[in-house]
Structures are given as structure tokens and as C-alpha cells.
């Protein structure tokens, strides 16, 4: 018996060594780069020996540290034309030059040397510095112009054209996008190699000439790459603070410092930045605790209590989570009457104790009773819009009595004897743990407070759920909406024909109010900041009273940052992980 056992054990061992000998799929492209990195992270774990590694850093004068490793979700694509995700922008921000680079919401000139605007407030002329791509070829004004023109090109199938058109309203941009005019007629022109001119159809109060995100994009390179554009580092041109050295799908992105960059001596001093993909919340936190990474961009709710408070940094996201009622009622007259009934909507809104719900379900969010919350460029830098301009809305803690009164009023108006007679409603939401819990909580709260027992939850995968929403196959929809960096971004979605309002683009608005439309329009032309904000506040009040959008919370995010890291910054208005002034002192 024993001999047999030994024989089998040997066989197992032999088979293991055989298969393990065949290796070489590891993600490190160079073993050299692996060595200092792993040893550095080991010393980071043990706090007793900080001297050893900091000694290496002292050799260089303006050093931000050798390496910074952060857990963050990978970009979908580096194709700037097709890109729709802020994840992509994290990478663009690190690897491209910009006309103006935002840092914590403030745009400062980078490639732009000087710029002027004419007296009509519509023609912006930018004089650019001489700069190069990372391979040494010069970047011209054409490259910056092409960044916009490519997104507007109807043949490119970009999803960003509509936003560009509504936000800036370049001359003939819409006509070009609809194939009605030639590219040369669009108000985005390179006058010469170092002069870029943007012409707007009318002055945009929210655009001050600097708050525009513009990267260079080489038209020839785009044509040459075709479909392969932005898929790998080889199919992507860098010009910014870092060069994308390696991208292993599902694992890591490695950025190496670009010494050719304009401000290479002043900003982005860390030599190597690694972004690790860790889709699992538990793994991200464990890697942070073990010292394998220096930061985690987004810590899951469940793990906040595990990490020391001094390592957590809170960032507000410019996203509003809200319940949206389908006032078109899927064509059913009874539902149309119910879902567009103001008292019924107030009943749903007042029944919710937002403070308790958010604390229980999405503790990183902030409960809100209005739409604009995140710090915005249009507002004064010190204060929040919501602090300066009060609106009347539901109390954050809800009001059950008031809710019942509203419901009774709604029942009386609509001619129902009791709440049980109301038609069955469906609540559409995404297949996602947080969204499911929110759905279960909201539906049960409405049941407990109002006795509404006939709401069913319709859980769907994202493409399916969005398609259902866009074809109005829902009664109640829980949504997350980007509120944008300026108030007009959000309100423009809700004017008659707006992109969130009339998603099918066929005139089926779920909210239409002429006064609101007029206020938003007027505000966008009002150059005086305070007057403009007051108009937006009025518009917001109308939306709170009239629109079928019931605000619940704004998204927030906790980042975990090691104590030896200084100057970590994330800003959701800029859509960027801003490592401009980051130093790693380990």
C-alpha cells in the first residue's frame, strides 16, 4: 500500500512540474521593471524601513517618486472618436496634451499660449505653443481641430456629436453632422499651424473660452489605423505627461513619464504610473492593505469600515440618481393619468426618507432633494450651487403624513376609492446588486408608507434595460444621470426635445414646460454669473414641482490612498484622475 501511495505522489509531483515549467504568459513585459516595483511595495508594507527607498529618490531633485500604482477600472477604448466613457478619459488626460488642462475644476492654459475672443462673444482665437507628439513629430492646430471635427463627422459614427453641438454650438456643426454641409464650413478651423479658431453660432454663457476639453488627434494616423485605432498602445499616439508603455487587457496599464512634455519639470513628476484592474471589491482592498498598490480609486461600500479613516478621501460625482416616472404611461390612459398626476408624484417623493435609504443602501452617496449638487464651474469656486440658491422641495427625511395626504388627493382626483384599485406598475432597473437593493427598498417603502402593493420590479441587463427605457416600456425607472460640469448640461437634457426627455427623438417628451424651456434658454445667454445662476435656480424649482424626475441621491466615491502619497486628486467634472501634483514619499 505505501509503495503505491509513494508512486502516485511522485506522479502528481512530476505532472505538476511538467506543466508549470511551461510558463511565459505573465503580464510583465520586462522583468527589469518588475523587480524595483515589487521590492518597493514590499517595503511600503512594513513601516519600519522608509529610509531605504526614499534614499533612492533623493538623487533626483524634482522627484515625485519612482512609481505610483492605483487600482482603477480600465478604459474601454483609446479611440477618441468612439470613446464614450470617462474611464477612457482618465487615460487621455494622462497621455495627451490639452489646450487647457483642468485641475480640480479650474482650467489653465497648457498648449494655448494666448487667446482672444471678439466683441460678439462668438469667435475664439487660440495661439498655440510649438509642441510634439511623443515620437518627435510636431503637433499643429489641425490636430486639435480634427479632435472635434472627427467626432462631428457623420461617417465616423461618434456618439459624442450631440453633446458637442448642444454644449458649444459651433457654426454649422449640426449641419455637418447631418451631412448638409462641407467640413470647411464648420466653425472649427486651423488658421495656420499654430492658430486655432472656434466660432460659435451664438454666445454660450457657460463657456468662458477655457473650459473645453480638447486633445490633439492626427487625421492621417486615424485614417491609417482604421478600425484598429486605440485598441493597443501601438495603435495610439501619445503627446502628454505620460506615454502609454503597456496595456494588458483586464490587468494593467503602464504609463512612463514623457520628458518631452511641455511642463515635464513642473507637473506629473512620478516616473511610472500603473493602473491595475481589480474588478473585485475585496481584492482591491486586500491589495491596498497588503501594500501591493498605493491607492484604490473606488472603495466598495462594504469595505469602508475596514480601512483607516485617514486613508479615505471622499469625492463627489456629478451624477444624480433619481426615479423617473413615465408620464406617457405606455399608451394606457389610466397609467397616463396616474403617472402624470402631480399629487401622486409628490406622494411617492414624500414617502421616501432619503437620509435613511441612502445610509442603508448606498452609504457613499449623499441624499438630495434637488438636481444640482456637485461643485460646478459656473458657480463661484468657494460655494456650492445648492448653498447659494435655495429651492423648495421635499424634506430629506421625507414626511409620511404629507405623503399619505398627497396620495389621498391623487386618489380623489383620479376617482379611485382606495389605493388597491390603482393599476399595477413596473419598476425598471439594471441587473446590479446595488440597483436591485435600491429597487427592493424603494418598492417596500412605498408599500409601507402608502400601501402601494402592486409595483413589480423588472430587472434587466443594461443593454436591454436601456433599450426598454428608450422605447418607454416602463412605468417607473431608476436612473443615474450625469449632471455635467455646468448647469446647462443637465437642464438641456430636460427641455422639450432634450436628450433625456425625448430619448426616442420623436417628440415623445415625458416632461414639457414652456416656462422651463424659456428660463434655460435665457440663462444660457445671460453673461452675468449671478443672474445666470438665479435663472437656473428658477428653472430647477419648476423641474422639482413639475417634472416626473424624483431626485434620490448624488453619487459619491471614497478613494483609498496610502499615507505616504500626497496630492492625490480626482475630479468628476474634469473626468480625470489628476496626478499633476502627486508625490510618493516612500
Amino acid at each position: 500500500m505505501t509503495s503505491k501511495k509513494r508512486w502516485l505522489t511522485c506522479a502528481v509531483a512530476a505532472m505538476m512540474t511538467l506543466s508549470f515549467a511551461a510558463c511565459g504568459t505573465y503580464t510583465d513585459s520586462t522583468t527589469v521593471s518588475d523587480e524595483p516595483e515589487s521590492s518597493a511595495s514590499e517595503t511600503a508594507g512594513s513601516e519600519e524601513t522608509p529610509d531605504a527607498s526614499s534614499a533612492e529618490g533623493e538623487e533626483e531633485t524634482a522627484s515625485g517618486g519612482d512609481s505610483f500604482t492605483i487600482v482603477a477600472t480600465q478604459p474601454n477604448t483609446l479611440n477618441m472618436i468612439q470613446s464614450q466613457s470617462n474611464l477612457d478619459n482618465y487615460c487621455f488626460y494622462l497621455t495627451q496634451e490639452m489646450l487647457f488642462r483642468p485641475y480640480d475644476g479650474v482650467y489653465s492654459p497648457e498648449v494655448v499660449d494666448t487667446w482672444e475672443v471678439d466683441e460678439t462673444g462668438t469667435v475664439y482665437t487660440y495661439h498655440l505653443k510649438e509642441t510634439n507628439w511623443s515620437d518627435g513629430t510636431p503637433i499643429t492646430a489641425d490636430d486639435f481641430a480634427y479632435y472635434f471635427l472627427a467626432q462631428l463627422d457623420p461617417a465616423m459614427g461618434s456618439a459624442n456629436a450631440t453633446t458637442l453641438i448642444t454644449t458649444y454650438g459651433f457654426v454649422n456643426a449640426e449641419a455637418y453632422y447631418n451631412g448638409e454641409c462641407d467640413v470647411s464650413e464648420v466653425g472649427i478651423k486651423a488658421l495656420d499651424d499654430y492658430t486655432l479658431q472656434l466660432t460659435l453660432e451664438e454666445p454660450k454663457a457657460d463657456f468662458d473660452g477655457t473650459n473645453i476639453t480638447c486633445y490633439p488627434l492626427d487625421a492621417d494616423f486615424v485614417a491609417e489605423q482604421g478600425e484598429a485605432l486605440g485598441g493597443t498602445p501601438e495603435n495610439y499616439m501619445c503627446s502628454g505627461p505620460y506615454v502609454l508603455a503597456d496595456w494588458t487587457y483586464g490587468s494593467s496599464l503602464t504609463y512612463e513619464k514623457n520628458d518631452q512634455w511641455l511642463l515635464a519639470d513642473e507637473q506629473f513628476l512620478v516616473e511610472t504610473v500603473t493602473m491595475l484592474e481589480a474588478t473585485d471589491a475585496n481584492t482591491s482592498v486586500s491589495m491596498f492593505e497588503s501594500g501591493e498598490v498605493d491607492a484604490v480609486l473606488s472603495v466598495d461600500d462594504d469595505y469602508l469600515s475596514i480601512l483607516p479613516e485617514e486613508n479615505l478621501q471622499y469625492f463627489v460625482f456629478n451624477a444624480l440618481k433619481a426615479v423617473q416616472l413615465n408620464t406617457l404611461g405606455q399608451g394606457d390612459a389610466e397609467k397616463i393619468a396616474l403617472l402624470s398626476n402631480e399629487n401622486f408624484r409628490f406622494a411617492l417623493s414624500y414617502a421616501l426618507n432619503r437620509e435613511a435609504i441612502v445610509a442603508a443602501v448606498t452609504p457613499t452617496d449623499t441624499p438630495v432633494n434637488r438636481y444640482l449638487f456637485a461643485p460646478m464651474t459656473g458657480n463661484s469656486p468657494e460655494t456650492l450651487f445648492e448653498d447659494d440658491y435655495a429651492v423648495e422641495s421635499v424634506p430629506l427625511a421625507g414626511d409620511a403624513e404629507q405623503a399619505k395626504a398627497y396620495l389621498q388627493a391623487a386618489l380623489d382626483e383620479l376617482g379611485y376609492a382606495s389605493v388597491d384599485e390603482l393599476p399595477a406598475l413596473s419598476y425598471l432597473t439594471f441587473e446590479n446588486e446595488a440597483y436591485r437593493l435600491m429597487a427592493e427598498t424603494l418598492v417596500d417603502q412605498w408599500n409601507q408608507v402608502l400601501g402601494l402593493g402592486n409595483i413589480t420590479i423588472d430587472l434587466k441587463p443594461i443593454p436591454d434595460a436601456i433599450q426598454s427605457m428608450m422605447s418607454y416600456q416602463y412605468d417607473i425607472y431608476y436612473t443615474s444621470l450625469g449632471t455635467g460640469a455646468v448647469p446647462s448640461g443637465f437642464f438641456n437634457m430636460w427641455i422639450t426635445g432634450g436628450s433625456a426627455n425625448d430619448v426616442a427623438a420623436n417628440g415623445s417628451n415625458i416632461f414639457s414646460n414652456e416656462e422651463f424651456d424659456a428660463l434655460v434658454d435665457e440663462a444660457q445667454r445671460t453673461m452675468d454669473r449671478e443672474d445666470r445662476m438665479a435663472l437656473y435656480a428658477q428653472a430647477e424649482q419648476i423641474m422639482i414641482d413639475e417634472s416626473p424626475l424624483i431626485p434620490i441621491s448624488t453619487s459619491g466615491n471614497y478613494a483609498a490612498v496610502a499615507s505616504y502619497v500626497d496630492g492625490f486628486m480626482y475630479n468628476s467634472n474634469d473626468n480625470a484622475i489628476e496626478l499633476n501634483y502627486l508625490t510618493v514619499n516612500k
Partner: protein, 312 residues
């Protein structure tokens, strides 16, 4: 002998033709099934109007009639071109497979190389020591492996072995040391499955006549166990081996996610969830080739190991 070789060649040729037809059927069925799924591949959480969506559909040629899209796809496929992902612009499906498959395959092979022998060994031990403490211990181990979901075992092992005891790195895919923990986690299912089946099959074989014959011939117990009992017990397990190997090579969503491994597993789930048609098709075809190939080899092996089932 020569006749046998001729028959074998004919058999292989036949199988080859059948395999190609099977593959074509898989491609076709999958292509049309995918289009039955509800939703729009470009509908993401970023708000878009229907008009924008339609333009994107047109850009990727998805507004064409279905049969035309099918012909285009088959044409490209014959050239070996799986096309580009719809979700991740610029990412060619060929490149994704080429870069992620080696990782998943290495992990899968390691797990199989560790899991199958370990499982068989445990099964044999349990059968030989039936009713004793070792048997009970192996049973308990098998129960734990079956009863506790992989993601829980993996998370716990990661927490205790990597974070608390610092025996292994927590995650990533950098060197052999990084592969040990995921290999063990991935192989647990194989170990418990093989241990359990092996125990049962060993007991079944235990009472068959050829063992009595072998004993009567005066063979030593070790020889009987190794050459007769184990060999016969293994046969039924080979049936699903092809599918199993192929499955392991294709990567595991859960393990890859927990250990941040750049493998294929995540693409299977995410691409179907996100309706990334080209990516799903590419992965399915690639998987099909591997499964069909593995099954073919296994069927050949079947005849070699069990003389009672001959190639006809």
C-alpha cells in the same frame, strides 16, 4: 494491422468532415440566436438619443438585413478575421484571444495537472480505505468543496493565505508565485469531482469478474489496483474529459475576477451581457474548435484505453 490503420484513417477523415459541418452549424446557430437577444449593443449607461444609436448601428453595418450581415461575417471568418469588438473600439477579437488565451490556458492546465491526479488519488484512497477515518476525511473535504461556492473559498483563501499569512501575493499575474493560489482555487472543483466519482467507480469495479481473475492469476494487490481496477474505473470519466479540458482552458470568470488575472473568462460573460456580437462570436468559434478537437482526441483515446469499445 494495415487494415486497422486504414480504418483509423477513414475514421479520422470522417470525423474531420463532421467537425467542419458542426463548426459551421455552431457559427450559424449562434449568429442568429445572438440577434434574438433583446437590447441594443450600443445602449450604455451614457445617455444617448435613438438617433445617435441608429447612426452607430449604421457605422458598424448592423442596420443591414440580417442575411447580408451573416454573409459578410462568414466571408471575413473564412479569411480568419473575427473582426473588431463593438464595445471596445479598436480591440480586435483576434488580438483579444491571442493575448488572453495563453493566460487562461496556463491557469487551466495547471489546475487540471494538479486537480485530476489529486482527485483520483483521493478517490482511490477513499475507496481503498472505505469506512475508515481517512475516507470520512476525504468525504468531508469533498463536501466542503462542493457545498461552498468557489467565490467564497477563493475570497477566504486570499484573505487568510495572502493577506494575513503573506504566503502568496494577493492578486495579479506576474510570476509563478502569483499563479499558485488561483490554481488551487480553480482546481478544487476538479479535485472534489474526481475524488467522488473515482471512489464510486472504484467500488463498482471492485466486484467485477476480471478482478477475481487477476487475483486468481496471483497478481499482487498493487498490480491489480493500478493495472486493472484504476484503469477500468477511469474509463467512464474520460467521456466528459474533452469538454472539461476545453472548459478549463477557456478560463473562469470568478477566479480571474478575484485574482485580477488577464484571462478570457471575463470576456465570455461581459460580451454576452453587453451584446458585443463580434466578440461573442469570436470566442464561441474559438471555444468550439477547442472543444471539438478535445472531444476528437478523447474519442480516439477511448478506443485505446478500453479495448471493448473499438473504432467501427
Amino acid at each position: 494491422m494495415a487494415k486497422e490503420w486504414f480504418l483509423l484513417r477513414k475514421y479520422i477523415l470522417q470525423r474531420l468532415v463532421i467537425s467542419v459541418v458542426t463548426l459551421w452549424l455552431i457559427v450559424t446557430v449562434c449568429f442568429f440566436l445572438l440577434r434574438l437577444l433583446p437590447g441594443n449593443p450600443f445602449a450604455s449607461t451614457t445617455l444617448m438619443t435613438q438617433e445617435t444609436l441608429d447612426r452607430m448601428m449604421a457605422y458598424y453595418g448592423l442596420d443591414q438585413p440580417l442575411w447580408k450581415q451573416y454573409l459578410t461575417y462568414m466571408g471575413n471568418l473564412l479569411k480568419g478575421d473575427f473582426g473588431y469588438s463593438l464595445k471596445y473600439a479598436g480591440r480586435s477579437v483576434n488580438y483579444v484571444i491571442a493575448s488572453t488565451f495563453p493566460v487562461s490556458a496556463q491557469l487551466g492546465l495547471q489546475a487540471l495537472a494538479f486537480g485530476i491526479p489529486t482527485g483520483l488519488l483521493l478517490g482511490i484512497l477513499a475507496a481503498k480505505l472505505r469506512g475508515r477515518a481517512a475516507d470520512a476525511g476525504i468525504n468531508v473535504f469533498v463536501i466542503i468543496c462542493t457545498a461552498v461556492p468557489t467565490f467564497i473559498i477563493a475570497a477566504l483563501l486570499q484573505y487568510f493565505l495572502a493577506l494575513k499569512l503573506e504566503l502568496f501575493p494577493v492578486a495579479q499575474w506576474k510570476s509563478f508565485a502569483y499563479t499558485i493560489l488561483p490554481t488551487i482555487c480553480l482546481s478544487l472543483g476538479t479535485v472534489s469531482g474526481y475524488a467522488r466519482s473515482m471512489r464510486t467507480l472504484m467500488l463498482e469495479v471492485d466486484r467485477q469478474d476480471f478482478l477475481k481473475t487477476a487475483k486468481a492469476k496471483g497478481l499482487g494487490p498493487a498490480r491489480i489496483v493500478v493495472f486493472h481496477q484504476i484503469r477500468n474505473a477511469i474509463i467512464p470519466m474520460i467521456t466528459n474529459l474533452g469538454t472539461e479540458i476545453a472548459g478549463m482552458l477557456m478560463g473562469s470568470y470568478v477566479i480571474e475576477k478575484i485574482f485580477s488575472i488577464p484571462g478570457m473568462g471575463a470576456y465570455f460573460v461581459d460580451s454576452i451581457n453587453g451584446l458585443d456580437y463580434t466578440m461573442v462570436m469570436g470566442l464561441v468559434i474559438f471555444q468550439a474548435v477547442i472543444v471539438i478537437g478535445a472531444n476528437f482526441v478523447v474519442d480516439l483515446l477511448y478506443g485505446v484505453i478500453d479495448p471493448r469499445i473499438r473504432v467501427r
